[in-house]
């Protein structure tokens, strides 16, 4: 069969309808489709695992709910001895390569398709997210590199903050994308915030 199959974004149809231009009081959103994700679960020796990851990626594996990134790869703490690895511009086999490189130290489960990841950038991002999540997003508490696993509108989400823009990423199980989109759009409307598509690629 001489055909190629293309991945389908969970928010694809919603994002297609958004205007691409940003104006006053807007929030830029984009679905992260070029990254690979995996759950990395320590097999017990966290120190050895951290050393292996540091050797491979130059990343200091966080021991709490934080995100540590080297610009391409990032590890996000989601539980004791459990991390979400996010690799930018990585192919569908990335998770199995990671599994091989961490063999014996960690169990790795490919989650590239499991999560739909929305990148949200803009002044209003904090207020919009706090409408849904009972998490303190005050910059003094939830600065860049902070991460939390929680719920928004009864939907399980992992949220991490990337930068000072501020940019957040929200990862949720892809089957919930339509319900999450409903929450996001009604919340933005209530706040008078417009949603626009991300123009260029944001800093990682």
């Amino acid at each position: 069969m001489a055909e190629i199959i293309i991945p389908r974004g969970a928010f694809e149809l919603h994002l297609r309808d958004l205007p691409p231009v940003s104006g006053a009081n807007t929030l830029k959103v984009d679905e992260r489709l070029e990254s690979a994700m995996a759950t990395v679960m320590s097999r017990g020796d966290n120190a050895a695992l951290a050393a292996r990851i540091h050797d491979a990626f130059g990343i200091v594996l966080p021991s709490g709910p934080q995100r540590v990134s080297n610009g391409v790869e990032a590890f996000i703490g989601v539980g004791p001895g459990v991390w979400l690895a996010v690799f930018e511009k990585a192919g569908p086999q990335r998770a199995s390569k990671l599994a091989a490189s961490l063999a014996g130290l960690a169990s790795v489960a490919d989650q590239t398709s499991a999560y739909a990841v929305l990148r949200i950038t803009g002044e209003a991002a904090r207020e919009v997210l706090s409408r849904g999540a009972f998490i303190d997003f005050d910059p003094s508490v939830f600065g860049p590199g902070s991460a939390a696993v929680t719920t928004i509108s009864h939907i399980g989400v992992s949220i991490w903050r990337i930068d000072d823009a501020p940019t957040f990423e929200v990862a949720l199980f892809r089957s919930y994308a339509d319900s999450f989109w409903h929450w996001l759009t009604t919340t933005c409307t209530a706040l008078g915030v417009g949603l626009v598509r991300h123009g260029g690629s944001a800093r990682i």
Binding site: P65, V78, G79, V82, V149, T151
Partner: protein, 86 residues
């Protein structure tokens, strides 16, 4: 209510599932039926501090032992169930 998850920090109670008294310990495989009946069905109902299991299913997915006062609802401690004695 707020539960201080040892990993995630203090979180709203809605993220957790209440899973009952944490003190019963599963008997040894050969302990016999009576021991298992006790383990499955018999619970004390203290007026005061109790150790309970709460599952942080909408967070770090850990089973916690939460020390709660049944009279005041005050939560004095929470720890990961893994590696803790109830």
């Amino acid at each position: 209510m707020r539960i201080p998850c040892p990993y995630c920090g203090e979180r709203d109670g809605a993220e957790f599932t209440y899973c009952g008294d944490a003190s019963p310990v599963r008997p040894a495989a050969d302990a016999g039926e009576a021991a298992f009946v006790d383990y499955v069905y018999m619970r004390s109902n203290p007026a005061g501090e109790i150790s309970e299991h709460w599952y942080h299913g909408q967070g770090c997915r850990n089973w916690l032992i939460v020390k709660r006062n049944t009279r005041t609802h005050v939560i004095s401690a929470a720890m990961l169930a893994k590696g803790s004695a109830p």
